[in-house]
Amino acid sequence: MADQATLNTAGAASAASSGSRSGPSGKRPRPIFSTRNIVLYGTLTLAAIYYLIPLYVMVVTSLKTMPEIRMGNIFSPPVEITFEPWVKAWAQACTGLNCDGLSRGFYNSVRITVPSVIISILIASINGYALANWRFKGMETFFTVLVVGAFIPYQVMIYPIVIVLRELGIYGTLSGLIIVHTIFGMPILTLLFRNYFASLPEELFKAARVDGAGFWNIYFRIMLPMSLPIFVVAMIIQITGIWNDFLFGVVFTRPEYYPMTVQLNNIVNSVQGVKEYNVNMAATILTGLVPLIVYFVSGKLFVRGIAAGAVKG
């Protein structure tokens, strides 16, 4: 029987030239340069090069001088490396009348991202915990509205929020924007935490109840210490999401509080002055640096954060 299967596999493999697939027991050695491997790794490598080219061009351009950019080829490495564009992008690039570079946007983004991440995760984790362990009537309805609401285009809800924030006197300030980020981070984070807390063994919760622990005690003493990985996943989602936001930044803040993405766009797409492509690319890398670092450091946890968005409600 087994031999028959092997024979069939071999036949099918040669028929479909590139087609043989190593099975779970696949210990049969294969030549390294088989057609299959060349097609497989060749395609993946080509795709990888395509994905890497923009990053490469960004870095290379930011290290060239303007005369070299005008004469040369965007793909060629810099003849003589200069860090001046980076300094200029950080400290001197102009948006309108301000010429203090991207640094202002960077500090704004930090002042927006840090509190937004902390507050949104705290609130969403408590919501998720209540949803998983302390249900009350009607709760699931609110949760369903919350999750479905995540798909509503932001444009539909922006103006009412502007009015409410204006009434509260915080429209245009950083606190207003932080509230907005907390609100729009809630669906995905609540879903993430609810699913995680629901997957913990129920006996743990019951034992704590029997020992007399209440809602907050169980949350702070048992759930929180047990859930560090999921908090890291939530942080990854929020840091990259909030740092990369453009729409809320431009709608809900005044120019002096613009986050880095908005300022970057204003610097690069400003119509005044001579275009300095090397400074533009340095500014672009600087803006992308924070999420990229988060991405490369977090590795598989980032993928888990993405998968959380795809988990069924």
Binding site: L44, F143, P160, A310
Partner: protein, 300 residues
């Protein structure tokens, strides 16, 4: 904290009180911001609000004006072209890459890291990089010409008829990694026995994928479709960064129309009507899905 054990109050409002207090942010967000905000916007789209919201009703006037506006028609056409091609290409490329990644390859982590990193970037960053790469005087067109092919023309960002494809290239660069990761997770969820069975029967691999694996991955495809499609309808930052809607109005999209009318042209009614149209587009995608997901099966 411990008064739960003695709590046997007849009034159900105070039962589980802490949980109710803790859920207030969720309830307010869901009911007031999401539901209330949406109803508010739809309501005011039937008024003649200009600089400030007003309650003078004008019926469907705003919608008639919207659909008579050339800029809105261009926006909708762009969204349709962009949406169809973005879905097709991201699914095909994403699935093929995922299938290749699923062949027990070496360096899987390296390849995944490379395919997914654009997804971590802001649309603004993506838009600006591709603006530079597609720059006619310095970018791809210039490089190919300087290699000797003098007649080569590839200038999407400054050509009205194809500018939306220039945006599509950037969007695919950023988004395909996401589709790949979701598809790969789906492929990993397929039972190994299916592969064994298809091998015993001598079915070629491509055929196994098309006839067995893809139909089995229907739920993954639907979830991915919903995520990608709702992202497409919202596309805004990318266009702002890459072309600012230009040349002329050739790369305008609905989300940008809404923003420009609400916050720059001081014509709120148009903004509300346009955003309501966006809501309807999303509803066409979401309602059938939500029905299947939450309403259809009440087993859980």
């Amino acid at each position: 904290m411990t008064d739960y054990q003695v709590a046997r109050r007849p009034n159900t409002l105070f039962r589980n009180l802490n949980s109710k207090i803790a859920s207030i942010p969720m309830i307010v967000t869901a009911m007031v911001v999401f539901l209330g905000g949406t109803v508010w916007t739809v309501f005011y789209s039937f008024t003649n609000s200009k600089l400030l919201p007003r309650t003078t009703f004008v019926g469907f006037d705003q919608y008639e004006r919207l659909w008579a506006s050339e800029r809105w028609i261009v926006s909708i056409q762009n969204l349709a072209i962009f949406g169809v091609f973005a879905l097709i290409f991201s699914f095909v490329i994403g699935f093929v890459l995922a299938a290749f990644m699923d062949q027990k390859i070496r360096l899987e982590n390296v390849f995944r890291t490379i395919f997914l990193y654009p997804f971590a970037l802001s649309f603004i960053v993506t838009g600006l990089v591709w603006q530079w790469l597609l720059n006619p005087d310095f970018g791809v067109q210039h490089v190919v010409r300087s290699l000797g092919w003098v007649g080569f023309t590839f200038n999407p960002l400054y050509t009205q008829s194809i500018v939306i494809y220039g945006i599509l290239i950037a969007a695919l660069w950023q988004g395909t990694g996401l589709v790949m990761v979701l598809m790969l997770a789906g492929l990993r969820g397929i039972d190994e026995d299916i592969w064994k069975a298809s091998r015993v029967d001598g079915i070629p691999m491509v055929k196994t994928y098309l006839l067995i694996i893809i139909p089995m991955m229907r739920p993954v495809f639907i979830t991915t479709l919903v995520i990608v499609a709702s992202g497409i309808v919202k596309v805004y930052d990318l266009v702002v960064a890459q072309t600012s809607g230009g040349p002329g109005i050739a790369s305008e999209v609905p989300a940008k129309y809404v923003y420009d009318y609400m916050f720059q042209a001081q014509n709120l009614g148009q903004g509300f009507a346009a955003s309501t149209m966006m809501l309807i587009t999303i509803s066409i995608i979401i309602i059938p899905w939500a029905y299947l997901e939450f309403g259809g099966k009440k087993r859980g």
